[in-house]
Assembly symmetry: C2
Homo-oligomer: 424 residues x 2
């Protein structure tokens, strides 16, 4: 921070902290756009609600004296100038699109915590050496348009803007057309930042899991994100009448699939504590109560913190599924559909988050992110760190998603101090 | 049979047999009504196709000189007079409604084998002592209207005609209105037969299972039908993000359900050879690949040959499901939705079927029916037996359902001799 001018107000002698109440009010204000009857938010990417949410963010940025840029995939960047014209920016951000039945905090917290950092610095008359930015990444959720984390992926160069523009939703509408329609098809080339690449990127986010709550801690220092491998699996047996077909003559795709679900669970437990294995989707054909199923299709989602760990899990998956197929007289096919490598955040950024929490006297623990976040793509182009705060019962992607005001405030204060440490 | 008049033709010295080629032609002719591109039949109860099928049967009965009655639920009875005015009728029959993607043989074989018996007797100028009847039971499949085996159930007094009439399909159309529309709402009271209750009822049917084919035998002497108990099961855990939720903190409804599927299989194997356990229907909520399922609903179909065996299976189901629910931290609810008691066919009728097969030199074995049939309801009001013939790969309720002409002919010959034995 720029210490060349003396503090302008008496308040400067009190420690530098965000205004938790103001941040909470902004979260509740933004949550009105696309509010659902059950207290959640439905603000799907590039809909009218997304436009209204973006407009609200832009208006707040203007009030706070920030300069707004929009890039070719609709990412928004609100910049607060620094004192050093040659310094590279320190950034934060997240997303404001939601799941169809989403909550008030997922994404929105990271964006508004960034805005609150700017407002706090304005109030205290502090000018940092490096410029600061708050980014709103387009379509993180991937609910309407795939791929997920579209805006941050494009920023990191993983997706070309031309590729992004031609992605279509279920109704055949394209990202490019919808960006133009809502007025957020920008001019800025993807991935360029005035003054050069970000010096650092921090993202505050609700944990979306139960670990911090179970540990009773307000802050998670995120050291990295689990790698992911997703598979589509099809088990094929033979449809048959449930009554006349004796057990030994069956080729029951449901029985094979059930044993494979159990195997996925065991494979993940064998890789404790970071291994995860989930069958979230499963579909039965013909799905009639007195017909032995001839086909079951299901998904497998494997996660782990290392490439080697994922390799072990994948090998076990193939081996055990083949054995189960033999035992139950069915065929099995596996096809990998998604792969994200495990991500280790920048050691210095992680240390900044940890020391900010310590400076604030906030109990904390190191955690890994099980989910993907925009920060995972940002980590490919900038030193990156993340800050987690607990959410109620670990629930997210749900209208009842909730968080405590004191945790929201604590996370924003950690973001403030971590950004200041990096922005000088 | 009436031996008071000498045989009218030289052919009478050759053994009495059905005309297998004529029976096969009639099966193929009837299969044209509602024929599907893949070679199956779609002739759902009380549709226009069902009406055309019934009209065809009625026309064939008229050609054969049979007298037709229709009862209040649309059951059709084609009667061939006997020589003794006081004798009670010996009956056969089955159904001509099909599954949405059904085959040519299920039900149709039993009806047309009965018609072929009548034609054969006509041709040979034989008059039995007792009258003979061929019945076509309304809505055996239960695809469009529940309950299944509606017509035979009403005949047996299990369902009142008024109850049957008000059953509606998915479009809100009622059985009563649809019977009237297609011209098959009859006057005859349900369950009454001229001259008194049936002296015996035989039903020929494809096996719909793989046992006879595996044994290489053309005839199954059916000693009874398995009892059935069906359950709706709901497993409730907690939806959660697949990534951020460590394995020990999960309440995964899919894992619980998978172990219950395995338990159903084990419970049936413990009751070999007659125990059956099937999970044919399963539905996952929210069914998204990166969300740990919070709810899984599925069906359980348990079958066994004795009441005690079914009691053991049901007790094991409750006990094991409760244990699995505890182990996986989920809740489970079971609700019984269907119950059919096990059925033991009349010993004398079963013996008639067996001795007919022996008289014909046809290899046979005793089998039990795993599926429900109209004969199971008929067994409540008449001495009953069934004759099974193999079907290809044991496949039924499928457009590729198939059977060999020689097995169809063999089954009809067994029906002929068994009916003659009982009709005198």
């Amino acid at each position: 921070m720029d210490l060349s001018t003396p503090p302008a107000t008496p308040a400067a002698s009190t420690p530098l902290r965000v205004d938790g109440a103001r941040l909470w009010r902004s979260l509740m204000d933004l949550a009105r756009i696309g509010a659902t009857p059950k207290g959640g938010v439905r603000r799907i990417a590039l809909t009218d609600e997304d436009k209204l949410g973006r407009d609200q963010f832009a208006a707040w940025c203007a009030e706070a004296g920030l300069t707004l840029r929009i890039d070719a995939v609709g990412n928004m960047f609100a910049r607060r100038a620094g004192s050093d014209p040659h310094a590279r920016a320190v950034a934060t951000g997240s997303h404001i699109d939601t799941q169809p039945s989403g909550g008030k905090f997922d994404g929105n917290f990271g964006v508004l915590a960034g805005l609150e950092v700017m407002r706090t610095l304005n109030e205290r008359g502090i000018t940092t050496r490096a410029p600061l930015e708050v980014a709103v990444w387009t379509n993180e959720e991937g609910t309407r348009f795939t791929p997920v984390m579209m805006g941050s992926g494009a920023f990191a160069g993983v997706f070309a803007p031309d590729f992004v523009h031609v992605q279509v939703d279920g109704a055949g509408l394209s990202v490019g057309d919808e960006l133009r329609r809502i007025g957020y098809l920008g001019e800025q080339p993807c991935g360029t930042v005035p003054g050069g690449p970000y010096a650092a990127y921090f993202e505050a986010h609700i944990e979306q899991g139960p670990v911090l709550e179970a540990a009773g801690l307000p802050i998670g220092v995120v050291s990295g994100a689990l790698g992911q491998r997703w598979f589509d699996v099809t088990v094929t047996g033979m449809d048959a009448h449930a009554g006349p077909t004796p057990m030994p003559l069956r080729r029951d795709a449901m029985l094979g699939a059930a044993r494979m679900v159990e195997a996925v669970n065991r494979i993940a437990l064998d890789e404790a504590p970071h291994g995860r294995g989930t069958v979230g989707f499963l579909q039965v054909v013909p799905n009639s109560r007195n017909v032995i199923p001839g086909r079951v299709a299901f998904s497998v989602d494997l996660r782990n913190l290392t490439h080697e760990g994922l390799d072990r899990m994948e090998a076990a998956l193939h081996r055990q599924f083949a054995q189960i197929a033999r035992d139950t007289q069915v065929q099995v096919e596996l096809r990998q559909v998604v792969q994200f490598d495990a991500c280790h955040f920048d050691a210095a950024c992680v240390a900044s988050v940890r020391s900010a929490a310590e400076q604030l006297g906030l109990p904390h623990m190191d955690v890994v992110s099980g989910a993907g976040h925009d920060a995972v793509y940002l980590a490919q182009v900038a030193p990156t760190g993340m800050i987690f705060v607990p959410c109620k019962d670990g629930i997210s992607h749900n209208e009842i998603e909730d968080a405590l005001p004191e945790h929201i405030e604590a996370g924003a204060n950690v973001l403030l101090l971590a950004m200041l440490e990096r922005a000088g």
